[in-house]
Symmetry: C2
């Protein structure tokens, strides 16, 4: 670099994982590495129809500048959907639209994090959140989780140890990367803890509506008694990621901060895209669409679990998610999934090594598997290839 940049840039550099993931994009590779929804279920015709109609009726409006908060009727319908799905009690005034829920994470970093502040998160945690917070210079305090999500006693222990905690980040439903879901009892317990510490909590819920079995749980936002929960949602996994439509629901004083920093970040989210999703929600039955997504993803999850049960050596364990797009594989400790990936790429199969999801490093014997974007025969073939590499590594 020939010119002086900000100190924060020293920490960012090109990520190891980004370089690896480029290799997984080759068309002959069976890649479990991505996190893409299945494009064959995008409601292309419906989106075409509402877009056409929208440009005919409101062309000048949707192509013009608009407000930072977002289109009010869209915010109202988002609030009503969250209330219906996750027992929240939101109105349009509690919501602001963001340019994909990734933007909400960047804005939260800007709002809350001073250099050296502790940010608590599940161990492992969503890579996009780690990367969004990193430029603001936090210390990441990882909180242990098990099959029922973050462990409340571990959260409290970590809070006592870290000092100056500014933010708790979590994905309670079908977490990325593990696929785990936080139990109802733990949700209640975690709300007690954040209330006690007056700690803002970001509840990131991109996958919650994609539940394949079991009962829907109330969002942490629905259990929030002190206005500490900042709820992030998105249409990327249930409709289309290419439209970049996410939203934040928060107490008004906090929401005002999101609006202020969003204004200086990108002025507002595309009015055309906001209203495409809004009109889609008005004219079509998204619940039926989500049922189709669930049917497809559930069959793919069932197929991958079956293949893994048949093919993987007994030393390899994995999670059995009730929804979402990902599951998590744990290998014996001596095995480094990063090195394994190199071998796997030779065999034309790919995954994301788990170390990427631990901001402080470690647990190199883990890996993330995506199953939403691949037909069942490819899944079966891919798992066979993976299993062969695993077996070879275990013998070495």
């Amino acid at each position: 670099m020939t010119v002086a940049t900000a100190r924060r840039m020293d920490k960012l550099g090109r990520s190891e994982i980004r370089e690896i993931l480029k290799l997984t994009l080759k068309p002959d590779i069976i890649s479990f590495a991505g996190g893409l929804p299945a494009p064959e279920l995008f409601p292309v015709e419906e989106i075409k129809s509402v877009t056409q109609d929208l440009l005919s009726r409101h062309g000048r409006q949707v192509l013009q500048y608009s407000t930072t908060e977002g289109f009010y009727p869209f915010r109202e319908i988002i609030a009503a959907r969250a209330n219906d799905n996750f027992q929240t009690k939101l109105t349009g005034d509690d919501i602001t639209i963001v340019t994909g829920s990734q933007q909400a994470l960047d804005l939260a970093g800007k709002i809350f994090i001073d250099e050296g502040d502790a940010v608590l998160l599940e161990s492992p945690s969503y890579l996009g959140a780690i990367n969004a917070f990193k430029p603001y210079g936090p210390r990441f305090a990882e909180v242990a989780m098990d099959e029922n999500g973050m462990i409340p006693a571990e959260l409290e222990k970590t809070l006592k140890a870290v000092g100056r905690a500014k933010l708790l980040y979590m994905t309670p439903d079908f977490q990325n990367p593990t696929g785990r879901t936080l139990s109802l009892e733990r949700r209640k317990h975690i709300i007690e803890i954040i209330n006690k510490y007056n700690l803002p909590l970001i509840e990131d819920n991109p996958y919650g509506e994609l539940r394949f079995e079991g009962e829907r749980l109330p969002a942490l936002k629905a259990l929030d008694t002190k206005g500490l929960v900042i709820y992030n949602g998105t249409f990327s996994k249930i409709l289309s990621p290419g439209l970049r439509q996410g939203y934040v629901a928060a107490a008004h004083d906090l929401l005002e901060l999101f609006i202020t920093v969003k204004q200086s970040s990108d002025l507002h989210t595309s009015e055309l895209n906001q209203r495409i999703v809004y009109e889609y929600l008005l004219k079509y039955d998204i619940k039926e669409h989500i049922k189709r997504l669930i049917a497809l993803y559930k069959s793919r999850l069932d197929a991958i679990i079956k293949s893994m049960e048949e093919e993987f050596p007994p030393e390899v364990s994995f999670t059995r998610p009730e929804g979402g797009l990902f599951l998590w594989v744990v290998l014996p400790e001596k095995i480094d999934a990063g090195k394994l990936l190199v071998k796997c790429l030779e065999e034309k199969v790919a995954f994301v090594p788990g170390f990427s999801f631990y901001p402080n490093g470690g647990q190199r014997n883990t890996l993330r598997i995506n199953y939403s974007n691949m037909p069942e025969d490819r899944i079966k073939e891919g798992i066979k290839r993976l299993a062969a590499v695993f077996r070879k590594a275990l013998k070495a």
Copy 2:
């Protein structure tokens, strides 16, 4: 605020100007306060047609996740247009797409500014840039300008005085808020200065293609010999702001930083919107479209200048831009444009007080006028009302 936020938030608060501008939105007010392009010239039918076609041919692709850098053929066509218009020598590899050029300013702040670093800018300067940089805690060093834009001798003087300068920001063509254009001689001189100080320069060029008279000048990027100029462009003023399509052209090492921080800010810019603009550029003649914009805006500028010459008291001076959307009015020093705006709102006419554009305050006797979004009869009536308030204030 019930919870602890980052220190940077203390500086942001709700802006005086944002509150005032809300008042200017009432439909009975003749508002010169906004900065909106004329919606009656949006090519709605053309955009409808390309969008329909795009969703028919590439529906799944444009609704899916895509790359942070942006759609490559779109980047190529952007490079070719800049080369054609402003004598740059760019290729698609020199470009990354951003979510409106406002995002480029936020990303630049994140890349370059540590707390306390000096950021140099024209005095007055674009409010959106000031707001984008502010969260990163710079000292703003204002550089005096005159009718020919930033004064190079003043730039060098300021650079010697400030220490630790990290960034120079300017809008050389039809600047917001003054409408002034940097002369060719000064462009060359400023490149010499940034070369000497190894200082990155953001050249923000949203209005450059909207030249009503005179010769197009080469972009500073075209004169850049050391890869120090970061060129920002946008389709907001020549096509549609609601699509949020901007771009950055920079040397590869710098561009890589923009891509890295963009990825953690919003993953990527809407693929649908990128390709709407791309297909529009392929299928239609944007040069002809821009000619229509120029004809309309020039007639509005001519009308407003004529009205101002006829109506304004001789103590009031104003700029005569050769393009863009704004002009700048200077009142006698004793007059506070902020207080005047309150009176003007009573008379149902509005503008933006100039103090907003000075990051360190001062020059309360100035104001910004937008003329792009109003028919000529409203312009005439609005200037009459303004002039009446001015005359009253001058007598007081």
